[in-house]
């Protein structure tokens, strides 16, 4: 252990020399990790913000269940009771067609006064469902209840938007994952080249009795250094861009409903994740290349 710490400066020096020796390969490995992590970071920024937004939308979403005009008072009460006992339902509020019209007039003006005599609206039940359940499934289920004419929810367009975001997010992460694998292999190849170049050195080290760690540590450091720089570049870019956007839009897009996450500590976690991913992929790449050296053979 003491020997390990004593050797650290020398091991770092060797790793540094290796990276300079294969600068172009090192550079392309770093670039590839950078692109993969940049993509992942952008996706993560969007995903984490959208998740917050969709949560706030979904929690506000309510279903409007229109009832057939022919129903009697008892039947209506029965249906309200039936709906409010469903496990997914948080609350169910009955409102008669007269009340609905009053609401309409209140919200949209006097022009609806003309319908006072011949009210075309239905009696409705406003159902709030558990945010974890899909509104679409729930609306289908409610549609099957006897006496229900129509089930509607205001958020259809927003739901669609969320699902588009969702698939974008999935494609983005798949792409970033693929690039990550590619960069691991690039690192592996870079380090394998270094090992080939240093083969004589390694065999002499073995002959004079160098410990395994002394032989493979420089390669691990090289890989992790590549991962570090590969995470550093996109982190700086994303941080700068996010802070700029946040300031420009004053923390919210379009309306209060689309509030952005505050840069701190959001970016801090994001950067930590990027560095962890960079260092980890660097370490995996170098271990893949130097596996033969690590195994204790004679």
């Amino acid at each position: 252990m003491i020997l390990f710490f004593k050797s650290l400066p020398r091991l770092f020096k060797t790793a540094n020399k290796d990276m300079k020796r294969h600068f172009s390969m090192t550079f392309s490995s770093i670039l590839s990790i950078s692109v993969a992590l940049l993509l992942s970071l952008i996706m993560a920024v969007i995903a984490l913000n959208v998740r917050d937004i969709s949560l706030s939308i979904e929690s506000q979403m309510k279903l409007q269940v229109s009832l057939a005009p022919s129903l009697s008072q008892e039947q209506t009460t029965e249906i309200v009771k039936q709906i409010s006992t469903m496990p997914q339902v948080v609350s169910a509020e009955y409102s008669s067609k007269e009340e609905e019209l009053d609401k309409l007039i209140e919200e949209n003006g006097e022009m609806f006064l003309q319908y006072k005599d011949a009210n075309p609206l239905y009696d409705v039940i406003t159902v709030e469902v558990n945010p974890k359940d899909k509104l679409e499934d729930m609306s289908q289920k409610l549609g099957q209840v006897d006496g229900v004419v129509e089930v509607s929810y205001g958020g259809a367009a927003i739901q669609k938007l969320i699902s588009v975001f969702d698939s974008m997010r999935r494609i983005g992460f798949a792409l970033a994952g693929g690039l990550m694998v590619l960069s691991i292999f690039l690192i592996r190849n870079t380090i394998r080249m270094t090992i080939l170049v240093r083969q004589d050195e390694i065999s002499i080290m073995r002959t004079v009795g160098a410990y395994n760690f002394y032989i493979y540590m420089p390669f691990l450091f090289t890989g992790m250094a590549m991962g570090f720089w590969g995470a550093f570049i996109p982190s700086v870019l994303v941080d700068a861009a996010y802070v700029m956007i946040y300031k420009a839009f004053q923390g919210a897009l379009v309306s209060e409903m689309f509030a952005l996450q505050a840069p701190f500590p959001f970016l801090l976690w994001l950067n930590a994740a990027a560095f962890a991913a960079g260092l980890l992929s660097g370490a995996i790449g170098s271990l893949l290349a130097a596996g033969r050296l690590i195994r204790r053979t004679r």
Binding site: L3, K6, S7, R10, D200, E201, S203, I204, M205, R206, T207, V208, G209, A210, Y211, N212, Y214, R296, T297, R298
Partner: protein, 228 residues
């Protein structure tokens, strides 16, 4: 010091490299190992250097049971064994000084120790003025002397020389032999030298062990090819 009892080693495809070898070498001895190609010389060297594990028998070097050595203990064991090769195996991008220092760096010696010890061995192999030359600026004999310096810099108890004069003319071979004798006498290092060079074996008479097809066929204390 070195004690081999009934050591056998065979390779896949049924090649018997060593068969029932019994050998004892005392501390500070200088021994030649001779024999035709495929006689088992290299296998013997590899077993002593812990590169190969014998199939049966016991190999004790300086109290260490080499055959049953755990993999992680091999590096520490090797520090007691210096190796010299026919093809020198120097690092071309390092100077003579750095090549020798490299062996000490690899085992974690401090800069101060390295500086002191490398100066000592350079003096011993008579290459002080070449300390900052690169290997390709040196003659074959000088390069072999650097290899010897590197092999002894960590003060091993045993020095294994695998055909150290194989690439050298007779005059340079003598230089190397004188140096090995000097190391053997002054440092009391046990030396096992594998060689094909009958002139050297005859001129510098030492205990000579002859291998043939994996068997030890002669162990002659007075030495020399002619006496076999």
């Amino acid at each position: 010091m070195i004690d081999l009892k009934q050591v056998s080693k065979s390779y896949p495809k049924g090649i018997h490299a060593l068969t029932g070898l019994d050998l004892h070498i005392d501390d500070g001895e200088f021994v030649y190992v001779i024999g035709a190609t495929g006689s088992g010389k290299s296998t013997l060297v590899k077993i002593l250097n812990a590169e190969e594990i014998p199939d049966s028998g016991s190999v004790i070097v300086d109290g260490v049971d080499v055959g049953h050595l755990k993999h992680r203990k091999v590096p520490k064991y090797r520090r007691n064994i210096g190796c010299i090769f026919q093809d020198y195996r120097l690092l071309p991008s390092l100077t003579v000084y750095e090549n020798i220092a490299f062996a000490m760096e690899a085992v974690g010696a401090s800069k101060k120790e390295i500086k002191k010890r490398v100066a000592e061995v350079l003096e011993l192999v008579d290459l002080k003025e070449k300390a900052y030359s690169y290997p390709d600026e040196l003659s074959g004999g000088q390069q072999q002397r650097v290899t010897i310096a590197r092999a002894i810099v960590n003060q091993p108890k045993v020095l294994i020389a695998d055909e150290p004069t194989g690439n050298l003319d007779p005059e340079k071979s003598r230089e190397i032999m004188s140096l090995l004798e000097k190391i053997n006498e002054t440092l009391k290092t046990t030396i096992i030298m594998v060689t094909h060079d009958s002139a050297i074996v005859d001129e510098y008479k030492k205990r000579t062990i002859m291998l043939d097809a994996g068997f030890m066929v002669h162990d002659f204390a007075k030495g020399g090819y002619k006496s076999l």
